[in-house]
C-alpha cells in the first residue's frame, strides 16, 4: 500500500503545479529512488489523459557519460534530447539523489559543458514558456544532509509540501505588494548592508507551481543596482555538490567586485568567472514557507525558510523582468532571523525574520 500522502503530493504536482491537460507530453525526470512518487505521478498523468515521458537516470547530475564523453559532445544535447526539451508540454523533476555530492568529481570544464548543454531547457523554463516544477522526495541522502532520520525527514517534507496553497498565495501576494510599490530594497545584518533596486520589477510568488515545496516571493533586481556588502555567515552554500562556507560578496554598480569565502573560495571564484553574467544578481528571493524552519543544506528548502532571503548570482528569470544572462543560477541563502532587517524604500518591513504589520 502506498502512503496516501504520496497520492496527495502527486495530485498537487500534476493538477496544481503544472496543470496537465489531455494529450500533453509531460517529462518526468527523477532517479529510481523516487519510485513510489514517480508511479503516483504517472497514474495522475494517465488519469488526466496525458503522456508521461519518464526520464530516469541514476545520477541527476553527472554519471558515466558526463565523466567520460568528449567535452565537445557534452556541450551539445543530442538532437533527440533537444527535441524533447523543445516539445514537451510540462516538466516535472523529482529530486531524489542517492548522494548529494554527485557531480562534485566533474572538472570545471565538464561542468561548464554540461551547463551549456542544458541551456535550451533552462531558457525555456526560465522564460516560463512551459509549466515546470521541481519537487523534493525524501531520500536518505537528503535526510543525512539535513541531519535527520528518514522518518523525520519524510514528516518534514510532507509538512512543507501539503499546505493550503491558495492561502499561502494570498499571504505571499501581500508581501510582494510591499516590494512591488518600492524602488529600493535594503538587506541589513551582521557584516551585511546591501542595497538593490527593484524599481519597475514585479515580484513573482511561488505558490506551489515552480518548486514543491513552494513558498517564496522573488524578484529580478535591476542588473546594475546592487551596492554594498553581503555576508552569508549563517549557512554554507552548496554548488555542484561542494560546500562553500562564509561567502562574502562586495557589489559595486551591480557587479561583484570582491569575493571571498572561509572555505571553498577557489570554487566560488571559478563559479563567478563562468561567464560575464555570473557576477551579477539574477534573483532576490524571500523565504515564506511556514513549514520550513531549519537549514538543511538543500537549497530547494533552505531558500524557502521563513525569515531568510536568498540572492542568486547569474541568470535571471525573464518573466520577472530580469535581463541578466548566464549559464549559472546559484541561490545562496542568508538568514535574517537573528539581527537581520529588510527595508523597502527606507522603511523597515521585516525585523529578525518577522514581518512588521504590512498594511499599517
Amino acid at each position: 500500500m502506498r502512503d496516501p500522502r504520496l497520492d496527495e503530493y502527486a495530485r498537487l504536482l500534476v493538477e496544481r503545479s503544472v496543470a496537465v491537460q489531455p494529450g500533453w507530453q509531460v517529462s518526468v525526470r527523477s532517479t529510481p529512488l523516487a519510485r513510489p512518487l514517480i508511479e503516483a505521478v504517472i497514474e495522475q498523468i494517465a488519469l488526466a489523459g496525458a503522456y508521461p515521458l519518464l526520464q530516469l537516470s541514476f545520477e541527476l547530475i553527472g554519471g558515466p557519460f558526463a565523466r567520460v564523453a568528449p567535452p565537445e559532445l557534452l556541450r551539445e544535447p543530442s538532437p533527440l534530447v533537444r527535441r524533447t526539451w523543445d516539445e514537451v508540454d510540462a516538466f516535472v523533476t523529482i529530486w531524489a539523489p542517492e548522494n548529494t555530492r554527485e557531480g562534485s568529481d566533474l572538472s570545471d570544464e565538464r561542468r561548464a559543458a554540461i551547463e551549456q548543454s542544458l541551456a535550451p531547457r533552462r531558457d525555456r523554463q526560465m522564460a516560463l514558456s512551459v509549466p515546470w516544477v521541481v519537487a523534493e522526495y525524501p531520500v536518505p541522502a537528503a535526510a543525512q544532509d539535513a541531519g535527520m532520520s528518514v522518518a523525520e525527514y519524510e514528516e518534514f517534507i510532507f509538512g512543507s509540501v501539503l499546505l493550503d496553497w491558495d492561502a499561502e498565495a494570498d499571504r505571499m501576494r501581500r508581501i510582494a505588494d510591499v516590494f512591488d510599490s518600492a524602488e529600493e530594497v535594503r538587506v541589513v545584518g551582521p557584516g551585511t548592508d546591501l542595497a538593490l533596486s527593484v524599481a519597475g520589477r514585479s515580484g513573482a510568488v511561488d505558490d506551489g507551481h515552480l518548486n514543491m515545496p513552494g513558498g517564496e516571493v522573488f524578484y529580478a533586481p535591476i542588473e546594475d543596482s546592487a551596492q554594498g556588502v553581503v555576508e552569508f555567515s549563517e549557512f554554507p552554500a552548496v554548488h555542484f555538490g561542494r560546500e562553500i562556507a562564509g561567502i562574502r560578496l562586495v557589489f559595486d554598480g551591480g557587479r561583484i567586485v570582491d569575493a571571498s569565502a572561509r572555505s571553498g573560495e577557489e570554487h566560488l571564484l571559478r563559479a563567478l568567472d563562468t561567464d560575464d553574467g555570473a557576477r551579477r544578481l539574477g534573483e532576490l528571493g524571500i523565504g515564506c514557507n511556514p513549514g520550513i524552519r531549519r537549514y538543511m543544506k538543500n537549497v530547494a528548502f533552505d531558500e524557502k525558510i521563513d525569515g531568510t532571503v536568498h540572492l542568486a548570482v547569474g541568470n535571471s528569470y525573464a518573466f520577472t523582468g530580469g535581463t541578466n544572462r548566464s549559464s549559472i543560477h546559484w541561490d545562496i541563502v542568508k538568514d535574517l532571523r537573528t539581527g537581520g532587517r529588510l527595508y523597502a524604500d527606507g522603511r523597515v518591513v521585516q525585523e529578525d525574520g518577522r514581518w512588521l504589520p504590512l498594511h499599517p
Binding site: 519510485r35 504517472i42 489523459g49 503522456y51 519518464l54 537516470s57 557519460f65 567520460v68 559532445l73 527535441r83
Partner: protein, 375 residues
C-alpha cells in the same frame, strides 16, 4: 512511508571485468556504435552496473546514449491507468525516438517476470501497437539493435538458479568467441538456405514448412545477446502438419502456456490447444490476421545453453532445439508476414527429434549429422 524505496542492488559488480567485456561486445560488436550516433538504451533500473558501463563505452565512442530506464518490464502504472486509446499511440516524442534513433539496445532486467500478467489483452495489444514504428525498423534490420539481459533475482528464480549461478550461466552464454560461432552457424545456414522442405518430426509432431527462395540469417551476437541461432522466414502459406510443444512451457507476457499443440494447413494455424492457459494462446492467435502464420523458424546453436530456463532469449538458443514464432517475420530473411506479435515457442529435439531437409535427415536427437552439416 509504508512502501520502501526501490530495491537497490548492494552488490555492485561494475568493476567486474566480465561486465566491461559484456558492454564492449554490445556497443562494439552488436551495435557497432559510430561517433555522433544517438544510441537508445532501454533498461530496467536493476541493470545499473551494465547500463553505466554501456554509457561509458558509448561516450568513449563519441556517441550519445539516450537512456530510457524503466522500473518493471512491460506494464507498470501507465499501462494499468491510461486510457487504452492513449496507450496504443506513442506520444510524438517517443515516436520520434523510435523512428530516428541510430541504434537500439534493450537490457531486460525484470524484478518480477510476471509483472505484465494482470494486463488485460486489450491493453497488452495496445502496448504492442505503440511500438509499431520501432518494431518495423527492427524486423527490417534497417537499424542496428540488440536485446540482452542482466542477471536479476527474478530471472534466476525462473531459471531455478541462485543469482550467482545465473550470472555464471549468462556470462558463459554471452562471452563467447563470436567469430568462431559465426562460422559454425554459417555452415548450418548453408544447409537450410532455399530448402524446398524442412520437416520436423518428434513425438506428436510432424510439421513441414518451406524455405524456398528464402535465405537464412545467423545471429552471431548482433541482434540478441547471447546470439547463437540460425533463423529464417518460412514461406507464409506452405506450413502443413502438427507441432506439439510438449517439452517446455511457452512464456507470453509473463504467463506460462503449457502443452501447446498447433495444427497448420496452408500456412495458417487452423487448430490450437494447450494444457494450461489455453485462453492466453487463443487470444494471442486472435491478435490480428498475421498472428496465425509462422514468422520464423529458428535453430538453437549456442553451446553455452543446455537447460530450459523459461526465458525465451536463452531457451531459443539451446543447441538441439528449434523454435517457431507466431506473427511478424523478418524481412531481412525474405519474410512478408505482418503482425504486432512475434512469439517464439521452443521445441526440444534432443530426445527422439529429427530434422529433415529436402527429405534427407540433417539432425537426430539434437545432433547434426556429419552427412548433412560439417559443424
Amino acid at each position: 512511508m509504508s512502501r520502501a524505496p526501490a530495491p537497490v542492488r548492494l552488490l555492485r559488480v561494475a568493476g567486474d571485468a566480465r561486465v566491461q567485456q559484456y558492454a564492449r561486445l554490445l556497443v562494439e560488436r552488436s551495435l557497432g556504435v559510430q561517433p555522433r550516433w544517438q544510441v537508445v538504451v532501454g533498461a530496467g533500473v536493476e541493470a545499473r552496473p551494465l547500463v553505466e558501463e554501456v554509457e561509458r563505452q558509448i561516450a568513449r565512442a563519441g556517441a550519445w546514449p539516450i537512456l530510457q530506464l524503466v522500473f518493471g518490464s512491460a506494464g507498470g502504472a501507465w499501462a494499468r491507468e491510461a486510457p487504452a486509446e492513449l496507450i496504443a499511440e506513442p506520444p510524438p516524442i517517443a515516436a520520434t525516438i523510435q523512428s530516428t534513433g541510430d541504434a537500439f539496445l534493450a537490457i531486460v532486467a525484470p524484478t518480477n517476470t510476471r509483472e505484465a500478467s494482470d494486463l488485460d489483452p486489450a491493453r497488452r495489444g495496445a502496448l504492442q501497437a505503440a511500438g509499431t514504428r520501432l518494431r518495423d525498423r527492427l524486423t527490417a534490420m534497417t537499424v542496428p539493435w540488440v536485446v540482452c539481459q542482466w542477471p536479476t533475482h527474478a530471472l534466476a528464480q525462473d531459471a531455478g538458479m541462485t543469482l550467482a549461478q545465473f550470472e555464471e550461466f549468462l556470462f558463459g552464454a554471452c562471452l563467447l568467441d563470436w567469430d568462431a560461432e559465426a562460422e559454425r552457424m554459417r555452415r548450418i545456414a548453408d544447409v537450410l538456405d532455399d530448402a524446398a522442405e524442412v520437416r520436423i518430426v518428434a513425438g506428436g509432431t510432424d510439421l513441414t514448412l518451406s524455405l524456398k527462395g528464402r535465405t537464412c540469417a545467423i545471429d552471431d551476437a548482433h541482434i540478441n545477446m547471447p546470439g547463437g541461432e540460425v533463423f529464417c522466414s518460412p514461406v507464409e502459406d506452405a506450413t502443413e502438419g502438427v507441432v506439439h510443444f510438449a517439452e517446455f512451457p511457452a512464456m507470453h507476457f509473463g504467463q506460462q502456456v503449457e502443452g501447446i499443440r498447433l495444427r497448420f494447413a496452408g500456412g495458417r494455424v487452423v487448430d490450437a490447444s494447450a494444457d494450461v492457459n489455453e485462453d492466453v494462446l487463443i487470444s494471442a492467435l486472435d491478435t490480428d490476421d498475421g498472428a496465425r502464420v509462422l514468422g520464423e523458424l529458428g535453430i538453437g546453436c549456442n553451446p553455452g545453453i543446455t537447460r530450459h530456463l523459461r526465458n525465451t532469449l536463452f531457451d531459443e538458443k539451446i543447441a538441439g532445439t528449434v523454435h517457431l514464432a507466431l506473427g511478424a517475420s523478418y524481412t531481412v530473411t525474405g519474410g512478408v508476414n505482418e503482425s504486432v506479435i512475434h512469439w517464439d515457442i521452443v521445441k526440444d529435439l534432443r530426445r527422439g527429434g529429427e530434422l529433415y531437409v529436402n527429405g534427407r535427415p540433417a539432425q537426430r536427437d539434437g545432433e547434426w549429422l556429419a552427412t548433412a552439416v560439417h559443424a
